[in-house]
C-alpha cells in the first residue's frame, strides 16, 4: 500500500474520460431526478416542475464536472453560492406571501410559526435536557412535528460528514463565499490566529445564556442572517437594537470582511453552529490528510483554505484543524497532490480518489436533497416574477 501511495503522480491527473465520468455521475442523476421531479410531494405547478428540472440538471452537471476534472472546490462553490443567493429569494418571497412582512411579531413566535432553522440546534440541548422543552418554537411547513425529524436528519448526516455540513448543506455560507470570490487578491493578509477561538466562545456564551433566559439567545441577538431572512419585528428600542446588531454583523462578517480577506469570515470567526459541527469531525470517518513525504511545504493550501483550518503547525503534523469543512480547496490548490481525502483507519494516500468519491457521493446526495430543494424554490420564485 505504501508503494501505491508513493507512485501517485505529482502533477494533476488528466481529465477523466467522458463515458467513465458519466457512469460515475449516474447515481447522482437518478437521485436528483427523484428528489427534484419524481418525488410524491412534487408540486403540480408547471413553474415548479421547470425549476425542478433546471435544478436537477444543474446539480448533475456540477457533479459530472467534479468527476471529469478531478477538481472539487470550484464546482462545489458554484452550487454553494447559488444556494446562498437563492435561499433568501425563495424564503423572503414565502414570508411575504404568508405574513406580508419579513418581521416576525412575538405572537407569531409564540404560536410556533417561525420556520425552523438548524442554527439553534446546539442551543436547544440543555433546555431540552432540563425541562423537556424545545425553546425554539419553530415549525417546518405546516407541522411542528417536523422539528424532531429535522434534528434526526441533521444528526445522521453530521455523523457521516462531520463539518462537511458547512460546505454542502448550510444555506447561509454561500453569500460570503461568493463575496470572497470577487476580489483577485486579499487586501488583509495577516489574520490573528486567536480569532479562530471566537466561534467557540460564541457557542459557550449562547448555550449558557439560552439556558438562562430560556430562548435561543443567538437567534435573538447575534444571528447575522436575520438581516436577509426573518428579523425581529421592532416595536420598541430593544427590537431596534437587535435589528441594528443583525445588520451590522451581516455587513461586517458576510460582506466587508470576506471581500477584504477572501475568507469565509462569518464561518471562521463567529458561527457557533460551525464550532458545534467541528466536534463531529472527531466522529466522522472522512477527513483531509497531508502526506508529509510529499509536502514541501509551500503554504498554498493554507492560503486557499476559506476557513482558516490550516496552520503551519497543523501542516507539519499532516492534518487540518478541527474546523475543517472538507470543501476541497486545499486539495485543489496543492501542486504536489500532498493533501488527500482520507478515510480514518486507512493509510494516508491509499487510494485517495476512492475516499474522495465516497465522501462526494454522500455530500452531494445531501446537497441535492437539502440545497437542491432550496435552489429549486428560489428559481420558482424568480420564474413567478418573470412569467
Amino acid at each position: 500500500m505504501a508503494t501505491e501511495a508513493r507512485i501517485l503522480p505529482f502533477a494533476r491527473p488528466a481529465p477523466r474520460g467522458i463515458v467513465w465520468s458519466l457512469f460515475l455521475t449516474l447515481p447522482i442523476l437518478i437521485w436528483s431526478l427523484l428528489m427534484m421531479i419524481f418525488h410524491p410531494g412534487a408540486s403540480p405547478d408547471p413553474l415548479s416542475r421547470i425549476s425542478g428540472v433546471i435544478t436537477a440538471l444543474f446539480m448533475t452537471t456540477l457533479f459530472f464536472m467534479m468527476m471529469r476534472t478531478h477538481s472539487t472546490y470550484r464546482w462545489r462553490r458554484i452550487f454553494f453560492v447559488s444556494l446562498g443567493v437563492l435561499f433568501p429569494i425563495g424564503f423572503i418571497h414565502n414570508l411575504y406571501v404568508m405574513r406580508g412582512s419579513m418581521g416576525i411579531p412575538i405572537e407569531e413566535m409564540i404560536a410556533g410559526r417561525t420556520p425552523f432553522c438548524f442554527m439553534p440546534i446546539p442551543l436547544l440541548i440543555l433546555p431540552a435536557a432540563f425541562t423537556k422543552t424545545v425553546i425554539f418554537p419553530g415549525s417546518i411547513g405546516s407541522s411542528s412535528h417536523g422539528i424532531a425529524s429535522m434534528v434526526g436528519l441533521w444528526l445522521a448526516l453530521t455523523l457521516v460528514m462531520g463539518k462537511g455540513w458547512c460546505s454542502y448543506a448550510c444555506f447561509f455560507g454561500g453569500i460570503e463565499e461568493g463575496v470572497a470570490a470577487i476580489p483577485a487578491r486579499a487586501k488583509i493578509r495577516k489574520l490573528d490566529p486567536r480569532l479562530r477561538y471566537v466561534p467557540w466562545a460564541v457557542l459557550l456564551a449562547m448555550v449558557l445564556l439560552s439556558l438562562a433566559i430560556f430562548e435561543p439567545a443567538y437567534c435573538m441577538w447575534l444571528c447575522p442572517f436575520k438581516a436577509v431572512t426573518e428579523y425581529v419585528a421592532a416595536r420598541n428600542t430593544i427590537g431596534l437594537v437587535q435589528n441594528a446588531i443583525f445588520v451590522l454583523l451581516f455587513a461586517g462578517l458576510v460582506i466587508v470582511l470576506p471581500f477584504l480577506t477572501k475568507k469565509r469570515t462569518q464561518c471562521s470567526w463567529f458561527c457557533p453552529f460551525g464550532a458545534f459541527q467541528s466536534i463531529f469531525n472527531k466522529i466522522s470517518i472522512f477527513e483531509m490528510r497531508i502526506d508529509k513525504d510529499r509536502c514541501k511545504p509551500c503554504l498554498l493550501c493554507q492560503n486557499a483554505c476559506p476557513n482558516l483550518s490550516l496552520s503551519k503547525e497543523s501542516i507539519a503534523h499532516g492534518e487540518t484543524l478541527l474546523s475543517c469543512m472538507k470543501c476541497g480547496a486545499c486539495v485543489d490548490a496543492c501542486p504536489r497532490q500532498a493533501i488527500v481525502w482520507h478515510i480514518k483507519g486507512t493509510q494516508i494516500a491509499w487510494k485517495p480518489e476512492r475516499a474522495r468519491l465516497m465522501f462526494l457521493y454522500s455530500a452531494w446526495a445531501l446537497a441535492v436533497m437539502f440545497g437542491g430543494s432550496i435552489i429549486a424554490q428560489g428559481i420558482t420564485t424568480i420564474l413567478h416574477f418573470i412569467v
Binding site: 440543555l126 477561538y197 460564541v202 456564551a205 445564556l209 439556558l211
Partner: protein, 220 residues
Amino acid sequence: MPVFASCGEALVLGLASGPACIAACGPVLVPSLLTERAGFRPHARYLSAFLAARLLGYMLFAVVAWELGMLASMLPTPRLLMMGVVYVLLAGVLLWYAYSARRSCVQPCAESKLVSIGQKKNRGLAGAASLGFLTGLNLCPPFVAAGIRAAQQGSMAAALLFFAAFFVGTSIWFVPFLSLGCIVRSQAVIIVARMAMVLIALYYLSMGIAMLLGKKVYGY
C-alpha cells in the same frame, strides 16, 4: 409554623428550584471556572467562595424580606431597577474578570501540556465572591417565592433559617460544576472562556441598562 416544617419546605423549594438556579448562574459560573487552574481543589475553592458569597446575598435578602415584608408587594418598577443595577454590576465584574484572567496562562505556547495555569497558588477569590454575591441577589421566580415565604415567618431568625435551608437545597445542584476541573486547561480554553465572559457581560450590560432606562426587554 414549626421550624422543622418551615426548613423542610425551604429545602424542598430549593431542591426543586435548583435547575433554575444553575441555569441562572451558569453564564457567570462556567466561563469564570474555566479560567481557573484545572483540578478538583481549585474548583472546590472557587465554588466555596462563590457559594458563601451567594449565601450572604440570600441572608441579606432574607433580612430585607422579613424586615420590610416588601417582596409580596414589591412593585415591578423598583424590582426592575434593582435587577438593572445587579446586571450592570455583574457585567462589570465579568469584564474585570475577563481582563484579569489574561495572566492565567503564564506561558503562551502551542503545546497545551507546556502551559502552566495560574502560577500564583492563591489567586484572589474576590471575583468569585463578587459574582456569587451578585447572583445571590438575582430575583428569579423561585427566589421571589422563597422571599415571600420568608417574609411570612414569625421572626427574623426564622426568615434567615428559611433562606439558609433554601440555599442548601439549591447548592446541591452546584456540585456537578466541580467536574469542570477535569477539563485540561490550555491557552485555547482560557481564551475561549475569556471571550465568552465578555459576550455574556455585554448581554448583562445591555439588559441592565435597558432595565434602568425602563425599556421593555421583551415584547417586540
